[in-house]
């Protein structure tokens, strides 16, 4: 009997891989875009090209990566099989067209086209929610992770509604109140209501597996969950017209971030895993970015800091530092696993096969680590200063880092094809199952 061609309860590894490859492509495009848009990034953030750039990151990179990872991880973290593989495939095609359409129409500044692309995007996201919802039919084990996933998908639905409303409002103005508070609420819903709970949720289940360490303790879990559950609605309502809630909400979210960081670093210190690979270094470094993100977020909410430069720096450390570096780190763990599973698991036990570490490319991963972390710090500092030349330089560093990351992934992906030929010598002869490391 051979092992199944797909991980237990999951889809074919090619489905999440397709999402993750599309996401990595968007990441490279966005990083190149930062270098290209230096002068625009030195100005006000509400600029068509910057909206195109931001949505390339939030939709093309972050959302596609989380959805792809969800199709791989939901069977693991929630122990439920995915309802429909076919729907997952269709959903990716719809999202790819919609995101490309949105980028193009932001770039061209054509609002009716943008509204149509946003509508198509909403269809793609709705299909994902349907697929996940049906996968979780009858689900009763509302653990910490499951509640955070529920919170995250609620945040995704609201972010999408806000986004579609903002796009439609450009064609048929109907939204009450000022424009920028609604825009800021949309941004915070995406960062804090959709992406952050999903990262906390997945981290709670997979970091202990990766680090070989203990799961979050009760107070860590409580603060992470309720800090977000109470804080994000308060931030959004505070932005939309109940200003008294804004600071309290920001402090609650900062508390959740602090609890997550405290757990992650405690776990890293007490881990049983002998060494840290680049993926784990990425996620720990990303976690450290929660500190400046929380400080800037609370300061902006309390009006201790203000203006588009600080707001842009907040977005850089949150979206570029905390969120993007976490996703890069997780992808450096997930992609080799999926490729290995597809290429080598049917042969393991019958002939020598590599470990995941052996199909990875640590040099490229290390280079990506230096360039991406350095690039994010540099970009945050330079958008604060508003110097276009330095912003462009930071963008160039980021772009090189993104290319190194893409190269590392591409080399892993080559095993999907090269593994079919003659068996390379991975070091141990039969009957060894895997090479000793």
């Amino acid at each position: 009997m051979s092992p199944p061609a797909r991980p237990a309860g999951g889809l074919s590894p090619l489905v999440p891989l397709a999402y993750l490859v599309c996401a990595a492509f968007a990441f490279v495009v966005a990083a190149l875009g930062v270098a290209w848009l230096g002068p625009e990034l030195a100005g006000h953030y509400y600029h068509p090209l910057l909206l195109a750039l931001t949505h390339t990151v939030t939709l093309g990179w972050v959302t596609l990566a989380i959805m792809g990872a969800s199709y791989q991880l939901i069977p693991i973290v929630l122990e439920r099989p995915i309802w429909s593989e076919r729907l997952a495939r269709w959903q990716l095609a719809i999202l790819a067209v919609a995101v490309t359409g949105m980028m193009a129409h932001f770039h061209l500044g054509t609002w009716p086209g943008l509204a149509m692309a946003a509508g198509l995007l909403a269809v793609g996201i709705a299909l994902h929610l349907v697929n996940v919802g049906l996968s979780l039919r009858g689900f009763t084990r509302w653990t910490f992770t499951a509640r955070l996933v529920g919170l995250g998908y609620g945040g995704l639905a609201l972010t999408t509604l806000f986004g579609v409303a903002l796009a439609a409002n450009r064609v048929w103005p109907f939204l009450p109140g000022a424009f920028f508070p609604t825009l800021h609420a949309h941004v915070q819903l995406a960062l804090l209501g959709w992406v952050t709970p999903m990262i906390f949720a997945v981290a709670a289940r997979v970091y202990p597996m990766f680090f070989l360490a203990a799961a979050p303790r009760r107070w860590h879990s409580f603060l992470q969950l309720w800090g977000l559950a109470a804080g994000v609605p308060a931030v959004v309502l505070g932005l939309l017209g109940v200003p008294g809630l804004l600071v309290a909400g920001a402090v609650a979210v900062a508390g959740a971030a602090g609890a997550h960081a405290a757990w992650a670093f405690e776990m890293a210190r007490g881990r049983k895993r002998p060494g840290l690979d680049w993926g784990l270094r990425f996620v720990l470094t990303a976690t450290a970015f929660l500190a400046p993100a929380a400080v800037l977020g609370v300061a902006l909410a309390a009006d201790r800091l203000a203006g588009p430069r600080v707001a842009l720096a907040y977005v850089v450390v949150t979206l570029g530092g905390w969120i993007s570096l976490t996703i890069v780190g997780m992808m450096l763990k997930i992609v080799p696993f999926l490729v290995w599973y597809r290429a080598y698991s049917p042969r393991a036990g019958r002939e020598p096969v590599p470990t995941l570490a052996q199909i990875s490319w640590p040099r490229a991963e290390g280079l990506a680590y230096l360039l991406l972390t350095g690039g994010v710090v540099l970009l945050a500092a330079t958008v604060l200063s508003g110097d276009a030349a330095w912003i462009r330089a930071a963008g160039a560093v980021l772009a090189l880092g993104a290319l190194a990351f893409a190269a590392a992934l591409a080399r892993v992906l080559t095993h999907l094809w090269t593994s079919r030929g003659t068996t390379p010598d991975w070091g141990v002869r039969r009957p060894a199952v895997l090479r000793d490391v």
Partner: protein, 95 residues
């Protein structure tokens, strides 16, 4: 050489978690080995209930033990009682 739990444990040291690069023995995933003539029963766990490698690890354990001389049948039982914790890891020097 007659079958013994030690011999089977040695065989299981060749079954690795591909992500961690550690054997199922070092990870503390093997809860028990029983031998009844040529029939071997192995009780093991996984690092998480939804472990994507569940079917594969079971198969690799079966293959590694099944190759030992004198083994006629291998039965692998996956249990989560008691659940696995990192405290079960016993690191041995790389061979």
């Amino acid at each position: 050489m007659s079958l013994s739990p030690d011999l089977i444990t040695q065989a299981l040291r060749r079954v690795y978690d591909p992500e961690l690069g550690m054997s199922v023995v070092d990870l503390g995933l093997i809860y028990g080995v029983e031998i009844d003539a040529g029939r071997v029963s192995i009780s093991m766990t996984l690092t998480a209930q939804g472990c994507p490698l569940r079917a594969a690890l079971v198969e690799w354990v079966r293959l590694a033990v099944g190759e030992l001389p004198g083994v006629e049948d291998v039965r692998v039982i996956v249990t989560f009682e008691p659940p696995w914790t990192p405290d079960r890891i016993v690191l041995t020097p790389s061979r």
